[in-house]
């Protein structure tokens, strides 16, 4: 998570022979081990929270399972036994942790299928949608952020930042609904250009299938990009502004480099570092953040599944998805932490 605090621990870890290559490699390994340990502890904490969070729920989960239908006492008791709800709390907890670590997240009340299986089915759709969206909005954010900072205070900068802040304030689900009204249902002269939801029409194969999925993806991706690019833009802008006054840029200009080359070869690579961390953290966030967009566009992914699970509420499924969303964040933070020292030699060696 925090690269600043890791610098401190890494400096302590640094051995006297750290200057040699093998020493720095060992320091990096120690750093990696520390990060891995931290991630494992975080994951364990997520498991503990998810267990107890859903045990404080008011009402009987078995009642929720039967949707209020008339059921006999024997049926209720057998359901309790089936889902392990008749065991004492600590036994439920150890069972839960043991099973979760082997990938077994319980059985959904709603679909009567293993939660892990349901999640695995829906995962590719979410990865596709959010992956494409994050790549596009990171690229747009970096590009516009660089332009904004390089000409800071200009009209272009003001329009850029103002636009980004405005779009950032817009609720994603609302933007999605408006896009559906405008471009799928059609308002006035605009015909319905895009499908209203889903991922495919169901009758295509081969290249036509790929085109069909892309056609379905246009509006959800636009929504995610519009709401998401502001953060990348602002981080890139402020980190490039930090570099702008640096002496090495004056040196580069004094060498006679063109403005374009100074920006691309000298300023941007240095300003990119905080933004890289940002992109990874966004990747972790976006799986959870797509809940709204997937719901609005009926995208068959994890976010849509989460919404379905909430409306019952289907506790094992909500719990499983909670663990997966938090796990994604932990994984992406870990990747950012591991990548950072490789990009910036001042950190972690």
């Amino acid at each position: 998570m925090s690269t600043t605090s890791t610098t401190g621990t890494a400096a302590v870890v640094r051995a006297p022979e750290a200057r040699t290559t093998s020493g720095s490699a060992r320091a990096y390994l120690l750093y990696v081990a520390g990060r891995l340990g931290g991630a494992a502890i975080s994951l364990l904490a997520v498991l503990v929270t998810s267990f107890f969070l859903f045990r404080i729920i008011p009402g009987d989960p078995v009642k929720a399972m039967t949707h209020g239908m008339p059921t006999s006492a024997e049926q209720l008791a057998s359901l309790r036994r089936q889902f392990g709800l008749d065991q004492p709390m600590w036994q439920q907890f150890t069972d839960y942790c043991g099973k979760a670590l082997t990938g077994d997240l319980g059985t959904s009340y709603q679909f009567h299928a293993p939660v892990g299986e349901l999640i695995a089915q829906k995962l590719p759709a979410t990865l596709l949608l959010t992956g494409v969206a994050v790549v596009i909005y990171s690229a747009i954010g970096l590009w516009l952020g660089t332009r904004s900072a390089w000409r800071h205070g200009s009209l272009g900068d003001k329009v850029n930042t103002g636009m980004a802040l405005t779009l950032w304030s817009v609720p994603s689900f609302w933007l999605g609904l408006l896009l559906i009204i405008t471009f799928s249902v059609g308002v006035g002269p605009i015909p319905g250009l895009f499908p209203t939801g889903g991922m495919e029409s169901g009758d295509k194969t081969g290249f036509a299938y790929i085109g069909d999925v892309a056609h379905h993806m246009v509006l959800p991706v636009i929504t995610l990009v519009a709401v998401g690019y502001a953060q990348t833009l602002l981080v890139m802008r402020s980190s490039l502004l930090d570099e702008m006054g640096s002496d090495y840029l004056t040196t580069a200009r004094a060498k006679g480099l063109r403005d374009d080359a100074v920006r691309r070869r000298h300023a941007v690579p240095n300003a990119l570092l905080p933004t890289v961390t940002m992109v990874f953290i966004n990747l972790g966030h976006v799986a959870a953040g797509s809940i709204l967009v997937e719901t609005v566009f009926s995208w068959p992914g994890l976010g849509g599944l989460f919404y379905q699970a909430l409306s019952v509420p289907d506790l094992p499924l909500v719990q499983g998805l909670f663990v997966v969303f938090a796990g994604a964040m932990i994984l992406m933070n870990l990747l950012a932490d591991l990548l950072y020292p490789l990009l910036d030699p001042r950190v972690g060696r």
Binding site: M1, L53, S169, V170, P171, F173, L177, L178, T182, G186
Partner: protein, 309 residues
Amino acid sequence: MTITPVPKTARTTRSARSLAWARRRGSVARFWRSYRTHRAGLFGLGALALIALIALAAPLLVGGDVQSVTNAPGTALESPSAEFPLGTDQFGRSLLGLLVWGARISLTVGLLAAALSVAIGTLVGITAGHYGGWFSTVIMRITDWFLVMPTLVLAIVLATVMSRSVWTVILAIGVTSWPTTARLVRAQTIAVESRPYIERAKALGGGHSHIMTRHVLPNVMPLVLAQTTLGISTAILTEATLAFLGLGDPTIVSWGGMLQDAREAGAVSSGHWWYLAPPGIAIALVALAFTLCGRAIEAVLNPKLGVAR
């Protein structure tokens, strides 16, 4: 430079309390002079004043009975007309009236949730920064772990698990969004406590609580103010999201709830954009206004940030 001894003697005769007040007035005036130069911040402040006025005057503007489903004035899903400038919802209620009432809940939840979150963050940050040692390590570990949690998912889960009410929403947003503030405040606390005047206060016998509340807190307050303002816009967006997912109080009209109603009434497939557009614009406007104010405050306190004017 001419020496003017008169005000100096006048100042020495004033009490410590009046001196402190004069100093505070001076710094507020300085802050305002600097804030005034940020045009976006002024726009945000103006928009907020207008919306707050509308929210406070809601009973006078549209009357208290617009939320009633039973004796609604219009028929269901009317288009905009002279009587109903924004049309009606599926119960025949005036959408303009609902929009005006919705401002109250949005602002209330936004302000209270942000205040709760910042209060927790400040408390955790100052204690962790002040005491240090293993206590600080443990607290910051917990903070880091909260920071890794997907905030929206945690808020949704909390709102699902607890009963449906406005307080649940405030609590769910407040207890999930404090870690950023805690980190910032802790860093600021450590910076403040390394200054010599803290050592002087300790030498004069100031205890832990005296130093934390009388010396550290006033110094971290400006930062906390900027955090709160930015936090309000996030809280308002989260509130709208929770209401849209059907996790808000179903008996109270809110902007997010209006959007959920619109979706359930089939406003999307029948192209009733006048039902959908206004609540979203209202949410975006309020969130943007708070963001602009927060950024202007940040820029005043830390001119190095380079925020565009």
